[in-house]
Symmetry: D2
C-alpha cells in the first residue's frame, strides 16, 4: 500500500438540525476527486469522529466509498478506548470498503498508557485486522504520546504499515523515520510541519488545510518531490498563516474556510459552537493574502 501524497482528513457535514448530511459529504468528495489528492482520511479527528454515533459512522464510510474511486486510497479513523471496540470497528470498516485504518491511541487513563499497554493494544488490533493499520499519534487531543521507540517496535508488525504523526514534534517524527523498519510510511498530520517533515523522509501528509485548499497543498508536495527545496519552503511560508488559521479556530474555522472555497463546510456538532463573524472575516483575509482566494 502506497501512502505517498496528500490526504485531507475529511470533515463530516451536518445539516441545520445537526444530523449528518451524507449527500454533502459525497459532493465534497466528488469535487476533491478532481484534484491531485492521493486519497482521504474518513472519520479522523477533523471528521468529528468522537461526536458520531456508531450507526452514523458506518453510513459515512459507506457514503464516502460510494464517492471515492478505487484509484484513491480511503483510510478510515478508528478512535476508541477499548481494544474490543477498536477490533470490532476495524472489521466493520473493512467490510464497507476501507483500504486502511488509522487507529487512535487509547488515552483516558493517561498514566496507565505505558508502552507495554499501547504495544499490546496495537498488536491485537493489527492481528485481527484484514486491512493495513496505521498508528495515529495526536497527543494534543489524547494527552498520550506514541514514543519513537514504541513506534519502531510496532513497525516490525507486518500489518502496521505507517503512522500519522500530528504531534507537530518534528524531532519525534525524525526519530520515527530513523528507528522504524525500512518501508514504514510516515505521514505528518501537522501542516506547519509539512516541509521539514518531507525533508526528513515523511512520504505524505494528512492535513486539514487540504480540505479547503487541496490544490495548493498538493502543489507544495509536488514541488518538494520535484526537488526544488527553495520553492517548496517558500510556498510553505506563504501558506503558513492559512495553516495556522485552521488550527487557531479548529474545525469550525476549517469548515468556514471550506464554505469560502466552494465546498460544503457548515457547522460542527455541539459542544463545538458556530464560528462568529469576525473570525470568518479574519480567515477570509488570511486565505486571500495566501493567494488561496
Amino acid at each position: 500500500v502506497n501512502l505517498k501524497g496528500i490526504f485531507p482528513p475529511v470533515t463530516t457535514p451536518f445539516d441545520s438540525a445537526g444530523d449528518v448530511a451524507y449527500e454533502k459529504l459525497k459532493e465534497n468528495l466528488v469535487s476533491w476527486n478532481k484534484t491531485g489528492l492521493a486519497g482521504y482520511t474518513i472519520l479522523g479527528s477533523t471528521g468529528e469522529s468522537i461526536y458520531l454515533m456508531e450507526e452514523e459512522k458506518l453510513r459515512i464510510v459507506e457514503a464516502a466509498r460510494d464517492a471515492i474511486p478505487n484509484t484513491k486510497h480511503m483510510m478510515v479513523g478508528v478512535i476508541y478506548e477499548s481494544t474490543r471496540h477498536a477490533v470490532d470497528f476495524v472489521k466493520a470498516a473493512a467490510r464497507v470498503g476501507a483500504d486502511s485504518v488509522l487507529v487512535g491511541a487509547p488515552n483516558y487513563y493517561k498514566e496507565r498508557m505505558k508502552d507495554e499497554v499501547l504495544f499490546a493494544h496495537y498488536t491485537r488490533v493489527a492481528e485481527s485486522a484484514t486491512i493495513p493499520v496505521l498508528l495515529y499519534n495526536v497527543p494534543q487531543f489524547t494527552g498520550v504520546s506514541l514514543s519513537p521507540s514504541l513506534v519502531a517496535r510496532l513497525s516490525l508488525h507486518e500489518n502496521i504499515i505507517g503512522i500519522k504523526d500530528s504531534s507537530g514534534h518534528i524531532i519525534g517524527l525524525s526519530e520515527i523515520v530513523r528507528l522504524a523498519q525500512p518501508g514504514f510510511q510516515v505521514l505528518t498530520g501537522s501542516a506547519p510541519a509539512l516541509f521539514p517533515s518531507l525533508c526528513l523522509g515523511a512520504v505524505g501528509a494528512v492535513l486539514a488545510i487540504a480540505c479547503a485548499a487541496p490544490e495548493a497543498t498538493v502543489e507544495l508536495y509536488n514541488i518538494f518531490v520535484g526537488g526544488d527545496l527553495a520553492r517548496a519552503r517558500e510556498l510553505q511560508f506563504r501558506l503558513a498563516p492559512a495553516m495556522f488559521m485552521t488550527t487557531t479556530y479548529g474545525i469550525a474555522g476549517l469548515k468556514a474556510a471550506m464554505d469560502m472555497m466552494g465546498y460544503y463546510g457548515g457547522d460542527c456538532r455541539l459542544p463545538l459552537l458556530p464560528l462568529n463573524e469576525s473570525a470568518k472575516v479574519e480567515i477570509k483575509a488570511v486565505f486571500r493574502k495566501a493567494g488561496l482566494l
Copy 2:
C-alpha cells in the same frame, strides 16, 4: 437531594471472557449496602465507562438499581464527547432509575473547550435532564479543567446541584466552595484530598478506596463530622498509603485490593493489562499496614 457522605465509584466486574459480570456487580452492591456508604456512583471513570458498549451501560445501571435500595443514592456517570449523546444518555439513565447524573466534560478538542463551550454544553444537558446534574472535573483524565468561575456560573442553574472534583487541586476546590451558589454540593473525588476538602466545606466524597475499604472510609468521614479533627487527620494519614496505592496501580490495583477485601474485583477490560504478582504483594502489604486487612 442530599449528597453527604461517602460514595464508591463502582467498578465494573468482567468475567474471564471480558464480558460484564452483572451478577458479580450485584453481589458487590449487596455487600456494600451493609456499610455506611451514602450511595453509589455507577459508570464513572473507575467503572471503566469509556470501555463499555452502549447496551452494556444501560444493563449495568438496571442491574445496579436492582441491588441498590431506594435509601441509597444512585449517581450515574455520563461520559460523552457530544452534547446530543450526553443528553440522550441522561434520559436513558433516568428511565432506568438513576437518582442523579455525573456529567463529564467534553475534552477531545482540548484547546476548543473554552468556558463558553463548556457552559453551553452543561446548560443544555441540565435543561434537558429530569434528574439532577453534577459536574465532573477530572483533568488528569480529560486534560480539561473546569475553572472555579465556570463552576460558580453553572451552580446558578437550578438543576446543577453539585460537583465531583477529582483534580486533587485543593485550592481549586476551595475556590469552588467559596464562589458557588450556597447549597451547591461539592464532593471530592481524590482520596488523598479527603480530610482537607472536608475542612474546606466539601459535603462528601466519591472515592475509589471506598470500593475496597468502605468502612474505614466512612469512619474517616464520620469522625470528621463528629468534630474530632485530630483523629480524622490521623486516620487520613494512616490510610494514605492505601489511597495512593490504588492510584499508583489504577483500576487494576483497586480491583486487586477488592479481591483481597472479599469483594469481586477481577481484571479490567483491555487495553488495561492484568496486574502482575509483585504489585499484588505490595498492595496487600500496604493494606495490611494500614490496618485494612
Copy 3:
C-alpha cells in the same frame, strides 16, 4: 527554633533610580514590628533576591537585622544555583545576624535535578551551616519540585528544621507532614492554601499578603490556633480575593497594595515593569471589599 506563626517575605524597596532604599526597608520593618508577626523572611522570592547584586544582599540583611528585634525571627533566603555559592552565602548571612536560612533548590538544568542531586546539595549546605536550614519549594518559579519523599529524607538531618512549601499543592504538603521526621516544621508559602495547610499540620506561613495586611493574616492564624475552624475558614474566604490579587499582579501588585496600606512599596527592579493604573484601582477595590482598607 520555633517557626510558629506568620512571616512576611519582605519586599526590597527601590528608589526612583532603581537602587535599594535601605531606610525604607527599615521603616517598613519598624511598622511591622508592632504587629503580631512571628518574624521575617529577607531576600526571598518576593524580595526580588535574584535581581540583587551580592553586595546589596548583605547590606539588606544587615539593615534588616538592625530593625528586627531579637524576639522576632529573621530567616534569610539563599537562592543560588551552585552549591559553593549557597554555602558561602549561608556563612555570610549567619555572620550578619540571620537566625535561619531558606535555601532554594538549584534548578537551571531541570532534567538533571534528580533527588540524589538535590539531596547531596542540601546535605552539603546543611553540614556547612552554623544556623538552621529550611528547604524552599517553589516549583512555579524554579520548575523543580521537592518531592515529599526527598523532603522526608532531608528532614532526618539535624540541621534541616523545616520547609517553606509555596507550591500550593496541598496534597504534597500533606504528604510532607505525614512523612517527615516528627518536629520538622512545615510552613506554607501559599496564602490561598493557608487554612487547609494549618488543618493538615503546618505550623506557620510565609505569605506575601502579610507584607500589606499583616494584622488580618495574623488574625486568621490566631483564630485557627484558637480552635474556631468555621471562623478561620470564613476569614480565609473573605481574604481570598486579596490573596489572589497579589499573585495575579506579582510583586508589583503587592508593592502597590503596600503603598495603599501605609507601607513603602514602590516599583520593582527591571525587567519587572511598573503596574498600570487600572490594576491599582482593581487592587484597591479588592482590598476594600475584603475589609482591609
Copy 4:
C-alpha cells in the same frame, strides 16, 4: 556579523578542587581552532555559566579571547535575571573582547514574563550594548519561551542580529525564520534539530556535541551547504544517538565524551554530580557506533 557555521558552547573546565582550570580551557580552544568551527560560545548554558562567580566569568572570557584568533567569532553568554545586571555584563564582556553576546531571557517570575516585559528587557540591553546581541531561547532551562512574534518584533532592532533557539521546537524555529526581519540570523541550539533547521533556513548552530565531535558536526553542516540533502540527513541519523547521549546525561555526559575524544572534560561543578562508570561505558559505545571514536 556572519554567524554561518558551527559553534560549540564551550564547557568550563574545573580542576579537582572545583576551581576553574583556565589553562585547560585554552588547550581545548587551541585544539578546536584546528577544525572548521566558525567560532565559539563562551559562558553559555553548557558552560555552567550559572555556577560561576562574577570574577570567574570575566577571567574565562579573557582566557578564551587569548586562545581564539580574531578569525573565529567569540559569542559570550549573558545569563542574568535583572536588566541592569545584564547591561553591566554586556559592557564588561565587550571590554574583554567579545564579538557578540547571547542574552538569556529573565525567567524566575515565569508568569510575569509577558512579551512586553521581555521586549523591554531585550530592547534596553540591545540599546546599551556596543556589540551585537543575539536572543537566547532555551525554555527547557528557563521555563520561558520567546514566541516567534516577539522575536520578529525584536529582530527589527538594528543591534539584535539573531537568535540561538535551543527549544527543539522546529515549527517555532520555522516561524521565526518566516516572520523575522530579512537578514536576522537563526541558529539552532538543538543537535537533533540540526538538519531540519538548516532546511528551514537556519544559518548555523551552537551545539554541545561540537565540543566533543567538532569535525563530524562541521562535516554535516558542510554537506548540507554543499547541497547533498540525502547525505546530510544520513549523517544526521548516524550522529543522532551521540547527540541524544549528551542530552541524556547532561554536561557531565558531554564532558565524559570530551575526555574520550582527547579534549579536557573533567567534572562539573556541584550540585551536578560526577557521571558513574556505566554511563561512561554507554557513551563510549554510542560514540563508537556513530563512527566518532
